[in-house]
Symmetry: C2
């Protein structure tokens, strides 16, 4: 086990009708709020009214910024920064999924910063200050509701990059599983794949003696694997929605990689796909992960055997453990397919024309490698993309 | 799943040599520290020197209070409160296990309070303020290093009572598994039983649809069950020590009971035993839990079957599931015995003379019931104690 520091101070307010507490929760933390959300869905479902009424009831002024989209864009972030400065905003409330939250986090660090907010995503600057961010979560997927991460796409060059700072970890996140009843199936499935990917990025490690976090990873994966299909059959099954929602937060709140080196190659590869083709991140991950697994499993067959046996209940093949490992990869692929996700680039209508370009961008023209479980150079990334066709 | 709020802001600094960071960690949080610890063991091991050197290097003044004992006493707490007031202490550093930490927490809420600190333990008052507490952990067991709880014993009447307040959750806890190498085997075993008990108190619930937290509980239990015996055979096995130590924190940091009603009857019963006989809390729990399980399992056989199959890998008896449940209880008992703990009152040299008295004290003369999995009245508690003989 490796040394680590772990702290997650986000207050999780979980359960039915918890969105009605949002005004009370902000009181004392901010007096003028930027209410940031995506499209019109929160107006259709009535959530917009509930949230704004709660803010009004608590005497909190707010300004709105709609339009946060999947793979959130830098342009909107800059617009948000301007609004915040013009209106002396001191708290940002994101209502939505990872896109609204990541966009809100970007605005939060951008407001007190003199330079270009992209500097934080480009690795040119480190955040020193941020406006506090709160969340009402409507899409369990990205785990951004309790993470210190934000991913934004720069329109120019379609660069999708992430930043990390404890300053942008939400001060609170309100999670009401009922708010996820109206999610389209495809989005629910993409969410499941996204949270599973967050765990898999941590699970596949070469760090030894990681019993506890292995077990926590496996338990969280099994919970999603059990409940995601239930949710797709019964969209208003509260308990199954609740399991998926809480699992999505645990998947990415930092607990599951305490003491272990994590990977993140698959996320790096997927970011290049969704930056160019604007596909859903969760769908892209369902395509990349099986290919990545097939490409790297020989690097540590035993870990893939453990994954197959413990997570997928594959019967151990003692004569030929490698077959067990391969069966685990196959079950992962079939699970994604079973919940309605693409598992090849072709199924996302992506051809082989730009594989080279993506491999190049992912590795900064071959200057860096991706991942830790196996260090991937530009050729490796290209080969994985080819496997994903 | 039940609604819940979860927030745990304790910063965990985990790994080799992390105790050397204690001075830096306190800087900015306090300038005059009460250094609170138990007996002389931290001087023998050299930890005392490391900690005090780190404080001095960071320019932090400190006053000492030694003498925190298992089942920490109110007398020492009051002494600590006086020292803090006389010396204008603004931070308390506990170096030790649950006793030193719980005692430190009691001092922390007592200092700014005008009345008797016992009021908080007696349920007569609620804490409004506290001095911040930090921890260097030497005994993985109580989970107090990341919990908002403190248990103290009042000498008069030998009353052992707990309090809860977010104000006493440690601001940081330093966990270096190497510091646990010198623990006597019996104390290591008591620690394992204590942390297992913390999980079992949460695991045995009547709340349904608790897939995720079930899995997290089971995974944490399995980690302790695997690693505690290793540690007893190889006291300087870093990784096994690390697994046990981190599991002990997770067992009691509040995550494992999110969304579920927990029990705590066994702790209530054990507190009466250790208050009178001053036995180690972990040993008392190894005696009480098997008896409690035998007494209550019929209340929800399926949960005990799940426990047996998932935690102890008991082969499911489909013809007679109850036998599976009973086998799980038997394995729990044998595990405690196997790590060198008593599993009957007799083995702790406790006879049946005061069972009635303990049952009466645990239920406040029969005025309250204990637990939630099954509500236990005074007679139930008496019967469980009889089963434990």
């Amino acid at each position: 086990m490796e040394n680590f520091t772990f702290q997650n101070s986000t207050k999780i307010i979980f359960g039915r009708e918890t969105e009605l507490k949002v005004g009370d929760e902000i009181k004392g933390k901010g007096s003028k709020v930027l209410l940031h959300y995506g499209g019109g869905s929160i107006k259709k479902t009535g959530l917009y009214d509930k949230v704004t009424n709660s803010l009004k009831k608590s005497g909190i002024e707010f300004v709105e910024l709609a339009g946060a989209m999947p793979n959130p864009r830098l342009g909107l972030v800059n617009e948000g920064i301007k609004i915040c400065r013009d209106n002396k905003i001191d708290f940002i409330l994101a209502v939505g999924g990872g896109s609204a939250i990541d966009s809100a986090k970007a605005i939060a660090v951008g407001v007190p910063y003199d330079g270009d907010v992209w500097d934080f995503y480009d690795g040119k600057a480190e955040a020193k200050e941020a406006i506090p961010v709160g969340v009402v979560l409507t899409i369990p997927a990205a785990g951004s509701e309790a993470s210190p991460n934000s991913v934004v796409t720069k329109e120019e060059g379609l660069l999708k990059r992430g930043m990390y700072s404890e300053l942008i970890r939400p001060v609170f996140s309100i999670l009401n599983p009922e708010l996820t009843y109206t999610l389209p199936d495809y989005q629910t499935a993409c969410g499941a794949s996204d949270m599973m990917a967050h765990i898999l990025e941590r699970y596949f490690t070469n760090t030894t003696h990681v019993d506890l976090t292995d077990r926590l990873c496996e338990g969280t994966l099994k919970t999603i694997i059990k409940n995601a299909p239930i949710v797709l059959n019964e969209s208003e099954n509260y308990n199954a929605r609740a399991e998926v929602m809480w699992a999505g937060t645990i998947a990415h709140n930092g607990l599951l990689n305490t003491g272990r080196v994590d990977d993140w190659a698959s996320h790096g590869i997927e970011h290049e796909i969704s930056a160019i083709y604007d596909v859903a991140h969760g769908a892209g991950l369902a395509v990349v992960f099986p290919a990545w697994m097939k490409y790297v499993y020989k690097n540590n067959v035993n870990r893939f055997v453990q994954f197959a046996v413990r997570v997928w209940n594959v019967e151990m093949n003692f004569e030929d453990p490698e077959k067990t490992a391969l069966e685990g990869i196959e079950r992962t692929t079939q699970f994604f397919r079973g919940i309605g996700l693409p598992v090849t680039l072709k199924e996302m209508e992506i051809g082989d024309e730009r594989l080279e370009e993506m491999a190049s961008k992912a590795t900064m023209n071959g200057k860096i490698t991706l991942g830790n479980f196996m260090k991937l150079n530009k050729d490796d990334v290209y080969n994985i993309l080819k496997l994903a066709i």
